[in-house]
Each structure stands twice: as C-alpha cells, then as structure tokens.
C-alpha cells in the first residue's frame, strides 16, 4: 500500500514531464494521470484505516492518507477530468496539458502530506503551476492577474516559512502535531499563510479578482480545488490540536458571512461565483471534522457552475435578464444551483445537513443565515429567463462542454448516496424552508437592489496591508 501511495504521488509529475517529451500523447497521458488518482481516491474509502508514512527518519517527509484526504483527492481528480474533457476539442497546446497535470500532482501531494515543509513545497509548486495556467493566454490582463496571484501567495508563504521555522525550533520536527508545543506567534504565522492561500476571510479578497478574470476552465480548477490546498491543512491542524479548533471555527463563520454578503449584491456572474467560493470555504472550516464531504460537494458544484457561466451569453446579470438562456444550459445551471443551495436528492443537501449537525450551538444561527444567503444568490441563476434555441442570441458552446458538465452533474447525484442517513423528514423540511425563504427574499428585496459594494479591499496595495492586520488578529487569538 505504501508503495502505491508513493507511486501515486509521483505519477502526475512524471507524466507531466513525459508530455513535454512526447507532445503527441498529451491528452491521453493527462487523462491517464487523473484517472489513476480518481481510482486511488475511491480506494481510500474502501480501505478504512488511515495510513501514515514516515519517509527518511524523523525529519523527513510525512504522508498521511485517510478518508478525509480521500474526499479531497476525489474532488481534485473529478474536477481535473472534467476540465480536460472540456478542453479536449479545443486547440490548447501541449504546455497547457502538462501544466494542468503538474498542478494536479502538486495538489495531490499537498493533500497527502502531513508536515509543514513538504506542504510548503507542494503549495509553491501548485502556485507556480496555477500562475502559468492563469497567464496562459499571454494577454496583458491575464499576466497581471497571474502576477498579483503569485505575489500574494508568495508573500503569504514567506510568513508561513517563518512559522514553520518556529515550530521546528520548539520540537525539532515539522510534523503537524508539533503545533501544540509551538509558541503563539508560530500559529499566527502559519495560519496567515494558509488563510491567504486558501482565500479565507478578509485576507482572501484576492480571490474574486483572480478567479473571475481567468479563463473558464482555469477558473473551474482554481475555485474547485486549488483553494482547498490551504483549507485541508487548516482542517487537519484543527483536528490534531484542540486549542486551534475554536479559531478555525470562528474564521469559518466569519468567512461564510462575509463571502455570502458580497455574493448577494454582486452583479457579475463569475465574480458572484468567486465570492461564493469564499463563503463555502467558510462552511468547510466551520465544521472541521466533516469538512471533507462538504469540500467534495463544493468542488464539483463550483467547477460545474464556472464551466456553465463561461457558456452564458453575458457575464452581467442585468443583460442576462433580457437575453433568454438556452433551455439545456438553464437545466444544468438549475441543477447545480439547487445542489449548492442544499436541495434534497443532490449532494449539497447531505453535505449541508452533515455540517450543520456538527456545528456548535453558537455557530448555528450564523450558518443558517449564510445558507439563506446562498439560496438568495443562486436564485439569480435559477430565475433567469429561458427560451428555445431559435433567436440569434444563443451563444455557441464549446464542443467539450456537455460531456464535462454531464460528468460533473452525474457525480453530484451519485455522491449524494454517501450520506443517505440525512434523509429524515425534518432535514428535508428545513432544507426546503431555507431555499424558500431565500427565494422569497430574493424576489421581494434583492431583485430590485442596485447597491454596489466598494472594491477597495481588492486593490493590490490593500491586499498586503490586510494580510499584516490579520496576522496581528490571529496572534491575539492564539494567545488568548
């Protein structure tokens, strides 16, 4: 089993380089790499006992794979497969596929490792690969988006590195468990790095700009899995060290509310989805123990939504109200939106129920508000006017669009079966009530609203400034 794990971590990188050598085989090889990791992810569920590998003595790389990791790996594999299918008929170069596969591999590595330094390396590799994917069209705008992404994440990782050094100083090992004996400033620094990387709370406001301005498949990858690399270590730390648990939970609630309040007022489809990613990350953090399942459902839904948003005729909700959407696209959009609002029969429902169940009492009210907010913001999608195919306004979809979306939606429905105990009468009632309240609120209040929230905090200079403020905040939280 341990050999398989090591081979699995190394395989995507290996194939990624092979692709450069044999450019003709780029697509099949990329697909092969992701399918292998999908199989591996499923296999993690079957074999229940967690596996911990400690390579090279006390200081070496520590890998930990269990069913929590399994959820993340499965998300990663499914989303990457869908993106590859989406790009299959397009004329992307070999470079694109190689980078996608390397990104996929580094994400797998980041999910699997359980010590601070391997995590650092995996995160940096994923950062570079993501930058190359963002900057792939090589227009000025995409380069600027990529640069600001790389800059913010690299500065955050420098803070993180200092934190890791402090942990090492305290107990001569980089294992996550060492965080218990580490001084509060180490916790503050490491958390800052992970929060920024994961796009959580105010420090995550770089996310809407980056995610909304990238190309459609890249946004799907970024929002679906890349942000989760920061989340999984946070979740894992919260599970290992009890003192950190409340900090993570508080951040979860704050993030969920912040993201959703931006999303409700947002007028642009892709930006709305990006803000929504922030709020959903909050849901994952709010209940660390069951975060994996939520991450899976969110990753699938969000990449579906980003792919669909790329196929809509316009990015502005105002324009979309005028132009009718193709009926098939609307149907896919509605399924994905219903799932994320927590409608029964789809995976979002089970995930929400499971999360709410493991919330602490003080969190419940805030999270319910956030859930209603989710329903409000996705009502924008569901109540779009739909029309038949005729009429010149129909936007041509990419040929790879349908297979990719169908794959994601089918997996939405299938994974729904993982937590079938959720189907009790009151749970269903509650979910429907949440959606109902959200839709009513949308219909009567928010449809007319023209309030525009300022984008001040997304400016480049402020991003770094907020980072240091958050650092101080976490320091006091860790000290308390």
């Amino acid at each position: 089993m341990s050999t398989i794990t090591i081979v699995w971590v190394a395989l995507p990188f290996f194939l990624g380089f092979i692709i450069y050598l044999i450019p003709k085989l780029d697509k099949p090889l990329a697909m092969c790499g992701t399918v292998v990791s999908a199989v591996y992810g499923v296999q993690l569920f079957i074999q229940q006992s967690p596996l911990k590998l400690q390579l090279l003595d006390n200081f070496g790389v520590i890998l930990l794979v269990d069913s929590l990791t399994g959820y993340f790996i499965l998300t990663n594999a499914l989303v990457t497969i869908a993106v590859l299918i989406y790009c299959w008929p397009s004329n992307k170069t070999t470079f694109f596929y190689a980078q996608t596969l390397i990104l996929h591999g580094s994400l797998n590595a980041a999910f699997a490792c359980s010590d601070f330094i391997s995590l650092y390396v995996a995160l940096e590799v994923s950062g570079i690969a993501a930058f190359l994917l963002i900057a792939y069209p090589r227009t000025n705008k995409s380069i600027w988006v990529g640069l600001s992404y790389l800059f913010v994440s690299n500065v955050a990782m420098l803070f993180y590195l200092v934190g890791a050094a402090l942990v090492y100083k305290a107990n001569h090992s980089f294992d996550f468990v060492g965080l218990k004996q580490a001084p509060p400033e180490a916790i503050a620094l490491i958390f800052l790095g992970l929060l920024v990387k994961g796009g959580v709370f105010v420090s995550g406001l770089w996310l809407p700009f980056t995610h909304s301005e990238s190309e459609t498949p890249v946004s799907a990858l970024l929002s679906g899995v890349v942000v989760k690399t920061g989340i999984l270590p946070l979740v894992r730390c919260a599970l290992v060290v009890d003192e950190i648990d409340p900090i993570v939970r508080i951040f979860g609630v704050g993030t969920a509310l912040l993201g959703v309040s931006y999303a409700v007022f947002e007028k642009d489809t892709k930006r709305m989805l990006a803000f929504h990613t922030i709020s959903q990350l909050g849901f994952i953090l709010a209940a660390p123990a069951v975060g994996g399942f939520y991450a899976l459902s969110h990753g699938l839904v969000k990449s579906t939504l980003f792919l669909i948003a790329g196929a809509l005729p316009s990015r502005n909700f105002k324009d979309l109200q005028q132009k009718p959407v193709d009926y098939n696209i609307w149907f896919a959009l509605a399924i994905a939106s219903l799932s994320i609002s927590g409608f029964p029969l789809l995976v979002g429902f089970g995930a929400k129920v499971l999360t709410v169940k493991s919330l602490e009492s003080w969190q419940a009210i805030a999270m319910n508000i956030a859930a209603v907010g989710t329903a409000i913001s996705f009502a924008k999608f569901i109540f779009l006017p739909r029309g038949a195919k005729e009429g010149g306004s129909v936007h041509p979809t990419q040929p790879g669009f349908w297979p990719a979306v169908i794959l994601l939606i089918v997996s939405l429905i299938v994974t729904n079966g993982i937590y079938y105990q959720a189907y009790t009468f009151e749970n269903i009632l509650k979910a429907l009530a949440t959606i109902g309240v959200g839709w009513l609120a949308y219909y009567f209040i928010f449809k007319k609203s023209t309030l525009k929230l300022p984008r001040v905090f997304e400016q480049f200079e402020h991003l770094v400034g907020t980072m240091s403020l958050i650092l101080i905040l976490i320091f006091w939280m860790a000290l308390a």
Partner: protein, 87 residues
C-alpha cells in the same frame, strides 16, 4: 519595486533559518573519531536550500511577467497598471 522588496523579505527568512541552524554551534556535522563538539543543525539548512531555489524561480518568473507588462505600461506605479488592466 514590490518584487525587489519581496526578495529582501525572503532573504530575511533565509537568514532566520541559518540563525536557527547555528543555534547550538557552528561546526560542520561530520561523523568522525573527533570528540563530539557543538555542531550546527543540518536540517534547517537543507530545508532553506529548497526554499531558496523555489524563491529564485518565482523571482525569475515574476520578472518575465513584469517585463512583458512593462512594455505596454511604462510606469512604476502599481495603481496605474492596475487601472489599465481592469475590466
């Protein structure tokens, strides 16, 4: 400018690691018959070597991007570049 300052920051982090490594002593850790002296901790050094390489590559990558951007936005003001590239 920002990239230069980021580089300064990463140099600071590297220096900190070296400081931690030399906390117990300065001698090179070599297995030999010599009496056990205060040797430097090799682990942080090995790790920061990785971080230096990563930092360097990111540095190079960003500079390439900046060169491309600089051709069309001949300015040092970030806010100007940001304004030009807004939607």
């Amino acid at each position: 400018m920002k990239i230069i300052s980021m580089d300064v920051m990463s140099t600071g982090v590297i220096a900190y690691y070296v400081l931690i490594a030399s906390g117990d002593g300065l001698f090179t850790p070599i297995i030999s018959d010599a009496p056990n002296r205060d040797y430097a901790d090799p682990v942080p050094q090995a790790i920061i070597l990785t971080a230096i390489v990563i930092g360097f590559s990111i540095q190079a990558l960003m500079l390439v991007g900046v060169m491309k951007l600089g051709r069309d936005n001949p300015t040092l003001e970030i806010s100007e570049i940001e304004k030009n590239n807004r939607v």
